[in-house]
């Protein structure tokens, strides 16, 4: 059923790097007591709110970085 080549797992280094990148946003939002605070405010937003809005962008960036790591690793291993 597969179009090209025989699929192989990616190298462990790339998997670990991607895993760390994906774990960061999870940890950042799991530590509720750390960010459940009113101050410091930013543009009128309490810390609790702007911290989580900030992580919308950061989580997106970290996930994209993990995607790039895996894509890079896959390119290296693609049978040609």
């Amino acid at each position: 059923m597969q179009p090209t080549g025989r699929p192989r797992p990616l190298p462990a280094g790339a998997m670990i790097a991607a895993g760390v990148l994906l774990a960061v946003p999870l940890i950042a939002l799991a530590i509720v007591p750390v960010y459940a605070k009113d101050g410091p405010r930013l543009l009128g937003f309490p810390f609790f709110y702007w911290y989580q809005f900030m992580w919308v962008f950061l989580a997106s960036a970290f996930t994209w970085a993990a995607y790039l790591v895996l894509r890079h690793a896959r390119r290296d291993r693609t049978p040609r």
């Binding site: 939002l29 799991a30 543009l43």
Partner: protein, 549 residues
């Protein structure tokens, strides 16, 4: 602002708002029927085409489809309503929830995509069937999916109702006149879903998301310029301090509630059949991973929508419905009605109404796929052809939507909300079979089935006993964690019960050498992908060079 006076019950229909909504409704109905020609297939007579849109959606289409699918009209209505009524713990958790879901999707879903793509599987229960060689476990997963999805579809109708009520269409004493717009909207939805399958919501999602983003950006600019964020948060702080059980920012008694709601809901979200359908319709693993990185844009929008609940607190928006009773679900439509000119309020209402149609279509397709594959073909007609399957699925999608309509029109809205709450508790209990199964076959199929059953009963009973000021049962998705004074999300406690039972029974069954069945999958099935340099996977794969095993 003429808001408060005109929002009193019994006012007439707002013609401008209604006209704008009807215009967009006709536009998407046309789109829904035309969608059958989009990415035209040779034949729509298979689940791959009708139920998964040909399995060929690229990054952009998938972004719109999954965005339209996961961020439903009910979310748009309920999250700000929760913020308005009780503040952050019951409302704003949706933001971390819809952030942490994407790293999880990034990790798990490509494996499910790969193994399903290789074996032609359409539903998560197909995977469980193949992986564990267990019709019973697959049936459990399928039934859980269908039962959890049904009230979710019903709640999309509640979203439309909130808009209709705000436009002045909810006040008639005659139930038929009152409910006619809803019946027409759902009949049109049912008709084009029947003919176009998953292509219809995928196409309509473009309209829905464009309108939603437009409305939110305008609303946020309005708040920033006219109200000011500091004033808005201060008004919300003052209100939540006065309401019992309300929170402005979680404190030591609600940290766990907030965290478990966010993580439990995230784990549950991609177990829902409609999420899996959206993911499996993607063209490749790369499409899924890219989308995991770009879908959080919708979470940004959801967070801003949540803040509208606070803005409504500042504006003292009325939530009195046409029936004269207060209903927090009306807060967002009423806020738009209060602060926007009629034509733009109409655009906002159209966004919510269309926002209900997209997920309702995908959910009914996902439920139909489950019924067809894992109940009908598995237990009733075992040699059903692809064409036969597609016909059964189409009819099932009609039945599912009709059932949701009857449910909403015939029963108290609170029932739909209770069942949706329970749906989240239930669907999370399939995660062991699906996600653990993507990595290991160590857990025994019988243990998984018993663990699932125990956790379903446990979660249901605990949720039943939660009282709130407005209802005696199913009053909250939070309950005390056994042996502590800390409230956590019921689904998470039930999942822990599920894990303990499953692991203990697995050890016992393995000691007894209970038959584990035959695994239909190979290890490389889980990471098979086309290299990004080569042509993308298409529905007709190129001939495979014989690979040595």
């Amino acid at each position: 602002m003429s808001g408060l006076a005109t929002l009193a019950s019994g006012r007439g229909v707002n013609g401008v708002e209604l006209g704008v909504v009807i215009f967009f409704f006709l536009l998407v109905t046309l789109g829904g029927f035309v969608a059958v020609r989009w990415r035209r297939a040779e034949s729509m007579d298979s689940l791959d085409e009708w139920g998964l849109g040909g399995r060929g959606f690229g990054t952009v289409v998938t972004w719109f489809l999954l965005g339209g699918d996961l961020y439903t009209a009910y979310t748009f209505v309920a999250v700000p309503a929760a913020m308005f009524a009780t503040g952050a713990v019951s409302g704003f958790f949706a933001v971390p929830y819809t952030i942490v879901v994407y790293p999880l999707i990034f990790i798990f879903m490509p494996r499910l995509w790969s193994v399903s793509h290789r074996h032609g599987w359409v539903t998560p229960a197909d995977f469980v069937r193949g992986r564990y060689d267990s019709r019973g476990l697959a049936l459990a997963v399928a039934i859980t999916g269908i039962v959890a999805t049904m009230p979710y579809i019903a709640l999309q109708l509640v979203g439309i109702q909130a808009v209709l009520d705000t436009m002045g269409l909810g006040g008639s004493g005659n139930w038929f006149v009152r409910d006619l717009p809803l019946i027409i909207a759902f009949a049109a939805l049912a008709a084009y879903t029947y003919s176009s399958g998953l292509r219809a919501p995928a196409l309509i999602a473009f309209v829905k998301d464009t309108l939603i983003y437009l409305v939110i950006i305008v609303a946020i600019v309005y708040i920033g310029v006219k109200i000011g964020f500091g004033g808005m948060f201060d008004a919300a702080h003052a209100k939540t301090a006065k309401v019992k059980g309300a929170t402005f920012i979680p404190n030591s008694s609600t940290y766990w509630a907030y965290g478990t709601l966010a993580f439990g809901s995230a784990l549950a979200l991609f177990m829902y059949p409609h999420s899996v359908t959206g993911v499996l319709a993607g063209r490749s693993r790369t499409v899924i991973r890219r989308n995991a990185a770009i879908l959080p844009t919708y979470s940004l929008m959801l967070g801003m929508l949540a803040l509208l609940g606070f803005a409504a607190v500042y504006k003292k928006t009325s939530v009195i419905g046409q029936d004269g009773k207060p209903n927090a679900q009306l807060v967002v439509p009423h806020f738009f009605d209060q602060v926007f000119p009629s034509w733009f309020a109409g655009v906002a209402f159209a966004a919510i109404a269309i926002g209900a149609l997209v997920p309702a279509a995908i959910m009914s397709i996902a439920a139909a796929n489950l019924f067809t594959r894992n109940v009908y073909r598995e237990f009733l007609v075992r040699d059903a052809s692809p064409k036969h399957e597609a016909t059964v699925a189409k009819i099932t999608s009609l039945v599912v939507k009709f059932g949701a309509l009857v449910f909403v029109l015939g029963m108290d809205r609170q029932n739909a909300i209770n069942l949706q709450l329970l749906g989240g508790v239930w669907i999370l209990q399939t995660i062991l079979s699906i996600v653990a199964g993507l990595y290991t076959r160590w857990l025994h199929r019988w243990a998984l089935l018993v663990g699932w059953a125990v956790a379903m009963v446990y979660g249901t009973v605990v949720a039943y006993h939660q009282a709130s000021p407005t209802t005696k049962h199913f009053g909250s998705s939070l309950a005390l964690f056994p042996g502590t004074h800390t409230k956590v999300y019921v689904a998470v406690t039930a999942l822990l019960v599920n894990i303990v039972v499953t692991v203990v029974l697995t050890v016992a069954l393995r000691l007894l050498n209970a038959p584990a069945g035959t695994d239909a999958t190979q290890p490389e099935d889980y990471y098979s992908d086309t290299p990004s340099a080569a042509s993308p996977v298409d529905p007709q794969p190129a001939p495979t060079p014989a690979a040595p095993a």
